[in-house]
Symmetry: C2
Subunit: 343 residues, 2 copies
């Protein structure tokens, strides 16, 4: 049985060249292919939402240092949320919703490996890519397991209006900490406080960031939740507390740089006996269900919001959407909602 | 009673200017003053050894960020080892040996605050500035408390031929780890292996450091003991092991730079779930005696060497000695031995 519309075609987005500066539509090439046919033991997935993830900018770099890369001529790697529309696989039925790492295209065949089942009664399908998905789980384990802020402690979150930052800030509030967000522009800052309940927000584009952090966090910063690296991290490091922690979650400011810069103020780690530590959410995979149970409960109780920025378009808009993401146009997780989306 | 020679003068070394590049004699000014007279409750200390510490280069920088600074016109801050030659203080007798932070001069008056008593039956006076002093204690607590390497794990120590590095490498060997030193030049590297028992040594001045580390540490690096920062740290970070640790003990390669660079490869902390942590030896002050007991026992048993590079001179040679230190001419702790030294 086929669930694809007659005459449906599969648009696919390939990397055309190693980008200079921001990654955008000019670095990509859209190709059209027939909708593939699943074989025995395979399913056909129809994409409904494209996840927009800043880390893509890192793996399109021309470097041998990364485990994963997207090279010119490759289909762009990406997570999507979608629906099974044909199935020759015993575990999957037509109509099942999934998250899948099948790249930027409308349709993909899968043998089931790595597919994640989405119960959309628990969270909307798009949220499985964001707050209820990897972004939210990252924030959850980073805050509740790696950082464990105590009531009265101060957590500074940069990239605070982003997919992970919005969740991390809300979790740190639930932990009882004082939460300060760093974001770009007064509108995002006001939104963090008014909509997501941050205690304060600092606009890194306006004035002296260090002075503003000293003002917002008079007792220094116990935890820096770092999504961006660069200058924003440097100025925060100068004000880290004794035995403070920098949790490294991303370095988005550096991914577009010809040469990535390290944290110039890392000498403060020594002075303040502080630590900077890496974190990978997949180490916690056996506890994802527990985390999601808590997240559902908080969301139902109105204590947690899955903030989302929906870009309505099709797969060929992926490049523009990515450019918007890197230009900081989003509040919350950005997704591209494709025409096939039915929820 | 006076223990100073008749007609003795007190040479003192002052900072003349904020240095550019290496700190050396041209940045300093030697002044002569009378030998001071201790008042009630005071002692007169005669300097026998000047400690040579790379961190001085950091605090002569023109920066507001440091807790301690030496500014042009200041007597250069420094630790010395010496002898009480006059005493009006009930706790100190003429002939007592001390370590004191009295700066670069032949004589100083002290009210006893911060003086450390040196039992030269336990270790030679000069060693109280180095292996038996802050350098050795730093290495001891960094290895046995902050890192705790296990048998079979790999420890890479940079600045390995320096005051802290020589001790850290020997302690890591005593802990049962595989120890790789990074140093400048084949002679130092051979010395680390032949004289101090390192398992291997890598010359960072010769060839591709990363490739050489991969060869010397095929199972990756569990602990990076970082004394130097910069390129040497960056190349090591690229080969850090899962859940590895970078212990930050110094950043000597950066102290002379106009703008200090952070660890450019810190992104590997994320990939490898590793941590980078600061460390300050004075947090362990209540355990110094225990550490020294162990160090004495190991030294007596021939398992530990207090490697030392003695520069024979007088206080006015401090600038040249510092220049030599930063040029990497020393193997082990560098001290300037002054004419008054009697042991």
């Amino acid at each position: 049985m086929s669930g694809t519309a007659e005459g449906a075609r599969n648009n696919q987005v390939y990397l055309k060249q190693v980008p200079q500066g921001l990654l955008g539509p000019d670095d990509m090439e859209v190709r059209q292919a027939p909708v593939p046919e699943p074989g025995d033991g395979e399913v056909l997935i129809e994409s409904h939402y494209l996840s927009m993830d800043a880390a893509l900018r890192l793996i399109v770099r021309d470097s041998k240092d990364f485990l994963f890369r997207v090279e010119p001529g490759d289909l762009i790697r990406n997570s999507i949320a979608g629906k099974i529309v044909q199935s020759n696989h015993p575990d999957w039925a037509v109509g099942d919703y999934v998250v899948a790492g099948v790249g930027v295209q409308n349709y993909a065949v899968s043998d089931g490996t790595g597919l994640e089942r989405c119960d959309i009664s628990k969270a909307p399908l798009s949220a499985w890519l964001g707050g209820y998905g990897v972004s939210g789980l990252t924030a959850y384990f980073a805050i509740f397991d790696a950082c464990k802020p105590q009531p009265g402690q101060t957590v500074v979150i940069n990239g605070a209006a982003g997919a992970v930052g919005t969740m991390a800030g809300q979790f740190a509030k639930l932990a009882g900490a004082r939460v300060i967000g760093i974001a770009g522009g007064p509108e995002k800052c006001a939104w963090l406080v008014d909509e997501l309940g941050f205690d304060a927000a600092v606009d890194y584009k306006d004035g002296d960031l260090y002075e503003k952090l000293v003002e917002a966090a008079p007792d220094r910063i116990d935890f820096i939740f770092d999504n961006v690296g660069g200058h924003v991290l440097d100025e925060s490091l100068r004000w880290i507390a004794l035995h403070g922690t920098v949790l490294l979650c991303g370095s988005t400011s550096q991914y577009s740089q010809d040469e990535m810069a390290g944290p110039k103020q890392y000498i403060w780690l020594g002075t303040m006996r502080a630590r900077m530590q890496g974190f990978v959410v997949f180490d916690y995979a056996d506890r994802f269900e527990t985390a999601r149970k808590h997240m559902s409960e908080w969301a139902t109780a109105g204590k947690l919001k899955f903030a989302e920025h929906v870009f309505e378009g099709d797969v060929q808009d992926f490049g523009q959407a990515f450019h918007d993401l890197y230009s900081g146009k989003n509040k919350g997780k950005m997704v591209v909602k494709l025409p096939a989306a039915d929820s």
